[in-house]
Symmetry: C2
Subunit: 219 residues, 2 copies
């Protein structure tokens, strides 16, 4: 593996900016900051106990992730997703993950990848009766792992840029739609397709999975 960054002591000291970023992301994707809500810099900086300057850097990042939308005079508000936007997000997601699956299918040795993905599925199954949050987390882990295993940093980065929007989509519509089945079977199908190296099958499986997921959310 290309362990460029030394793990050192396992504890990476995060800058205040990164902490604020995480906190805001969580607040948004958890619904604490409801869609449409206006964000006031001074309020947030006081709330997070950081300066306005540092906060603004974090806000720029969230804006580019698509979690915030900019109003007329730079006024930020939590992005509101409608049904079409959710479908659009999942379309892009499907395209990225299809590329991931295809890339994995073309690997000469897929053993390690298969094992990693099955481990991720095991975590999903273990969380089947857990909280909604846990199920979302393990589900996202599976898909992020798939992208990471390709070794394509750009692909992983693109997917991670979309992750916030995906979580917002689930949060936005997933709650009143009741408990959703995260489709462990589907994930097994995807891994199976990768195992046999059938890129085409993997692609259609992922696309079906995404279409169905989007349908569940906006139905």
């Amino acid at each position: 593996m290309a362990g460029a960054t030394a793990p050192l002591l396992g504890l990476e000291k995060k800058s205040l900016r990164e902490q604020a970023l995480s906190a805001l992301r969580t607040a948004i994707t958890s619904g604490e900051l409801a869609p449409g809500r206006h964000l006031v810099e001074t309020e947030l900086s006081e709330m997070l106990q950081i300066s306005r300057g540092t906060l603004r850097e974090a806000l720029r990042q969230l804006e580019q992730e698509g979690l915030l939308s900019a109003g007329p005079r730079g006024r930020l508000s939590v992005r509101h997703l409608d049904a079409k936007e959710i479908r659009d997000i999942f379309s892009v997601r499907a395209a990225l993950e299809s590329l991931a699956a295809r890339t994995l299918c073309e690997l000469p040795d897929r053993e390690y990848a298969i094992r990693s993905l099955r481990t991720a599925i095991d975590a999903m199954e273990a969380a089947t009766h857990g909280t909604l949050e846990e199920r979302i987390e393990t589900d996202m882990d599976f898909h992020r792992t798939m992208c990471r295993l390709t070794g394509n940093e750009t692909l992983l980065h693109s997917w991670e840029s979309l992750e916030g929007s995906i979580r917002m989509s689930i949060m936005f519509a997933g709650l009143d739609k009741g408990v959703r089945n995260m489709g462990v079977d589907r994930h097994h199908d995807i891994v199976a397709a990768i195992e046999t190296g059938d890129a085409s099958l993997a692609r259609t499986t992922i696309r079906d999975h995404m279409d169905q997921a989007a349908d569940n959310l906006v139905a």
Copy 2:
């Protein structure tokens, strides 16, 4: 500075941050700021005549676009792309544009889209004997237009996030590889496939186009 704030028709006044963003993007993709070069905030802020705070906001955005890479202590440097990374970037690009083409293929009325794309190709042909910069510009316009025409904002946003990396790839390897043919014919093929609604053909055409483009760059 400005005496009367006359609202210039059609021209949106860009914030200093956005101006700095554009300036830096151009400086990087033009090679003025060479790959690997360390960026010093105080230098840049003085160069661009903006404060450090405002500059840092722009830098965060460039970092997320993948044009800058962060060193150990937050030290930023212009990202250096190797052959594999260029191929990876073009793989993701192909995946996104394939989705765009497929989406356009599924439109009930593709007339407007076809016309827009042909106009973009015309611009490319008009720039055939122009500067390298002009040819790159018109080429990017075509592909950006294709993404925009889908009406999928997320897709467009993802593509635009990749645009800087694409330009860097071309700049990085395109110059010493000599004048490249931007492949007007290929673009005609793509539009033709969209016109007939053949999503599969459009997909393979785009992928071939991208593979070939990447090969040209890293060969």
